[in-house]
Symmetry: C2
Subunit: 222 residues, 2 copies
Amino acid sequence: MRTLYHLPLSPFARKVRLVLAEKRLPFETRVEKVWERRPDFLEMNPAGTVPVLVEDNGLIIADSNVICEYLDEAYPDLALLGRTLGERVEVRRLAAWFDQKFAHEVLRNLVWEKTMKQLLKLGPPDGAALRAGHVKLNEHLDYIGWLAESRKWLAGSSLSLADFAAAAMLSSLDFLGDIDWSSHPAVKEWYARMKSRPSFRAVLADRMTGLNPPPHYSDLDF
Amino acid sequence: MRTLYHLPLSPFARKVRLVLAEKRLPFETRVEKVWERRPDFLEMNPAGTVPVLVEDNGLIIADSNVICEYLDEAYPDLALLGRTLGERVEVRRLAAWFDQKFAHEVLRNLVWEKTMKQLLKLGPPDGAALRAGHVKLNEHLDYIGWLAESRKWLAGSSLSLADFAAAAMLSSLDFLGDIDWSSHPAVKEWYARMKSRPSFRAVLADRMTGLNPPPHYSDLDF
């Protein structure tokens, strides 16, 4: 069986889970505690990160963006990277925007500080990081809102990897109660559409010991 | 004329310059002082980073990885991303390794501390960052050496984007005199092959005010 090594709150893993589900590719998940640096896992992915996908034929694919590129080439029936060169440039630009810029400016400051630092007993969350993360989160929500208002989907007229990259990031932050939806109605409307997709069900059903999401988290009419 | 907005020492821009030259695509370069946050440039790339490529037909492509994916799709005669699904996974894994892991662990600690901080008058280089950067650089050189010894090119039997991603990073560090080649003979042999390619000439010819590379920098028989 196709296997995805992941962590439940990792937005990079969530993005891949969404793409696999959209493409109707069955898979099982295994939680990989990356901080334990398990030798067999490091052999599969020397970078030591999740997600890692292992195909039935033994092909090992590391890095969420590499996995998504692979899936669109190996299973092209539902194309999530765009059709024309111009569309593909915009989808990839936005996917990279969320994977790198959003992750660096927001995710690291909020999700890392609130979950991983606690888990690894590295001390309490750093207030300055949390404040910086929230300032940047608001800027990013403004940008997502602008995209959602000017286009049908974030990268244009078609649902694409850009939507899943963004929705995966927001779903992890929403689990931690970090998003003020009322201030960003256009983002809320777009995210409600994403959340209602069947591919989102398994992601929203995840629960972790000691962490409870806010009441609206898995409510499709939040 | 096809235009690449860049900074001379940016390894991300160097990677794109190498790929353009390998594909024999003529282009002109324009230095973009990204720290000035020029409004017209931010309109082209809201992330505010170089490189940005502007095609003759007006298509604007930001993010070095997005540009390289685009170039391999638009100009496929010389394919740099691999042929089979498995080859493409390995090329992309290594390209992402250098763009992200190497950049985060080495580039930020060495090139940023030694050049940008000085340029932006943010204070002297941080000794701890320099030391951490050198420790990580040695680990990465060991890994590149292992790849170079076990394969013809870094990602396998064909020259690929992985080689250009790695060589671009090393060329920027070598400009600053940060690489001890004598300790890494396999890396040196591979890098000498890369440096001898005609595509490398323009990169090695770059000079910047106030910064001089070591004598071996542009010597092909270093």
